[in-house]
């Protein structure tokens, strides 16, 4: 092979290997690595929807919800509690406000445990603490007319649930 031919071969084969071979070799790597062209830091989807990496939108929309979207589905199984709740003053409150994340529960899977006790649902608290979250009259700043009591003078250490059903809180409300 003459030197000219050899040089021509190198000048053709090497760029072809780099431009086609490298992306092909990298195609199986994780998203982050294959999202850009091998010779650049600019992602392939950059500019698809605007001045940003287009595939970022799909990353955000594919996160799995932990709170279910619609509590009407709760009535499928928990009909007693549901009808009691829907007839009382607490019907404005979502089941998940007290019972925590239920997206997986609806799908028949276990819901993730809270990452820390501070993030536990309200039902994990003793009744007085649970109800005081909203109804403690000693808190400054609540709107006038919002139903509040001082738990100490109202019933002492008696559990609120002795008289009030959390699902239908009027005294005598259906449990």
């Amino acid at each position: 092979m003459t030197p000219h031919l050899r040089l021509a071969l190198i000048l053709v084969v090497v760029p072809v290997l780099v431009v086609i071979g490298l992306p092909w070799a990298l195609r199986g790597l994780p998203v982050a690595a294959s999202e850009t062209y091998p010779w650049s830091l600019v992602p392939r989807t950059f500019g698809e929807n605007g001045y940003y990496r287009g595939s970022n939108v799909g990353e955000w929309t594919s996160i799995a919800p932990r709170f279910a979207g619609d509590v009407a589905v709760c009535n499928t199984c928990h009909q007693g509690q549901f009808s009691s709740w829907s007839g009382g003053a607490h019907k404005v409150i979502s089941c998940q406000t007290c019972h925590g994340t239920r997206a997986n529960h609806v799908l028949g899977k276990p819901d993730p445990r809270p990452a820390s006790p501070e993030l536990a649902p309200l039902v994990a608290m003793p009744p007085i603490e649970l109800c005081s979250t909203c109804h403690d009259a000693r808190v400054v700043g609540r709107p006038v007319g919002f139903p509040q009591v001082n738990p100490e003078t109202h019933a002492g250490k008696t559990a609120c649930t002795l008289c009030h059903s959390p699902h239908n809180p009027q005294p005598g409300g259906r449990r």
Binding site: P3, R6, L7, V14, V18, L22, P30, V31, A32, A33, E35, T36, P38, W39, L41, P43, F46, E48, N49, G50, Y51, Y52, R53, G54, N56, V57, G58, E59, W60, T61, S62, I63, A64, P65, R66, F67, G69, D70, V92, I93, S94, Q96, T97, G100, T101, P114, A115, S116, E118, L119, L122, T133, C134, R138, V139, V140, G141, R142, P143, F146
Partner: protein, 263 residues
């Protein structure tokens, strides 16, 4: 030109390294992907033109229970520490002598049970007091997007400002630029983080987690392109205000009963 085998290998190897360096940087910059699931929605960018999201907060209803802050942390897998939060609740206590006390203990995530406010009151008379939940305003003219040097933060066609966690270099310009203090630096991945109005939920037709759990309906969410949506009704029925309108950021969180002086 004569190319020895040694020279060819040196040049070829050098070229290969030059090509691979950016790859290595990109791979090392990439954050860990959030917990994902097969999305029930397809390519959202084909749908998003049909929506334009809006948020309303009723300061006359908020009771400061803080369940929104907890729900946000759980839904969005945020660190449990209160300082890393996408939403928080402030309490304003206006005294008869004109002084205004503002507090937000632990971002309000455990409510306002403490007596700190009472101690600061020193027995003075309260004229008026109320709670103001805060979150990202998803501004139509967002300063955070303007200042990002790597185009990691952007506005979607349905009006939500998102952070590309893989591109963000953690320079914190956006955290400084946000006049509402809505952003913080994720302590684990060292990238900017902020409220997305639960973008993964709203794209599936759900409400944001904080709206879902609010027991008094103080947080209202909807689609401006739907005439029946709750936000459209709020804007129809109430006089509303936005935070710091003078800055021209065009925020999209509308506050019912917004007291002048609340920033």
């Amino acid at each position: 030109m004569k190319l020895s085998r040694r020279k060819f290998l040196t040049l070829g190897g050098g070229a290969l390294i030059l090509v691979l360096i950016p790859k290595g940087i990109e791979t090392s910059l990439a954050g860990t992907a959030p917990e994902t699931a097969p999305s029930p929605i397809g390519d959202w960018t084909k749908e998003w033109e049909k929506h334009y999201w809006g948020f309303a907060v009723d300061t006359t209803k908020c009771i400061g229970c803080g369940r929104c802050v907890v729900a946000c942390k759980v839904e969005n897998r945020l660190p449990p520490e209160p300082e890393f939060t996408r939403t928080w609740v402030e309490r304003y206590v206006i005294l008869e002598d004109g002084e205004v006390l503002v507090d937000s203990p632990e971002a309000g995530m455990h409510g306002f049970k403490d007596e700190v406010a009472n101690a600061r009151l020193r027995g003075r008379e309260i004229r008026r007091s109320f709670f103001v939940p805060k979150l990202c305003n998803q501004c139509d003219d967002p300063p955070c997007v303007q200042v990002c040097p790597v185009a990691a933060t952007h506005r979607t066609a349905d009006g939500v400002v998102l952070v590309d966690r893989k591109r963000c270099i953690g320079c914190r310009y956006c955290i400084q630029a946000c006049p509402y203090g809505a952003r913080y630096l994720d302590p684990e991945e060292r990238v900017a983080d902020k409220c997305t109005w639960c973008y993964h939920r709203i794209a599936q037709g759900m409400k944001p987690a904080c709206v879902e759990v609010c027991p008094v309906g103080a947080r209202i969410f909807g689609d401006f392109k739907d005439p029946e949506s709750p936000v459209r009704q709020v804007l129809r029925k109430f006089s509303v205000g936005v935070l710091k309108p003078d800055l021209g950021t065009k925020p999209k969180v509308y506050y019912i009963g917004l007291q002048s002086g609340v920033r």
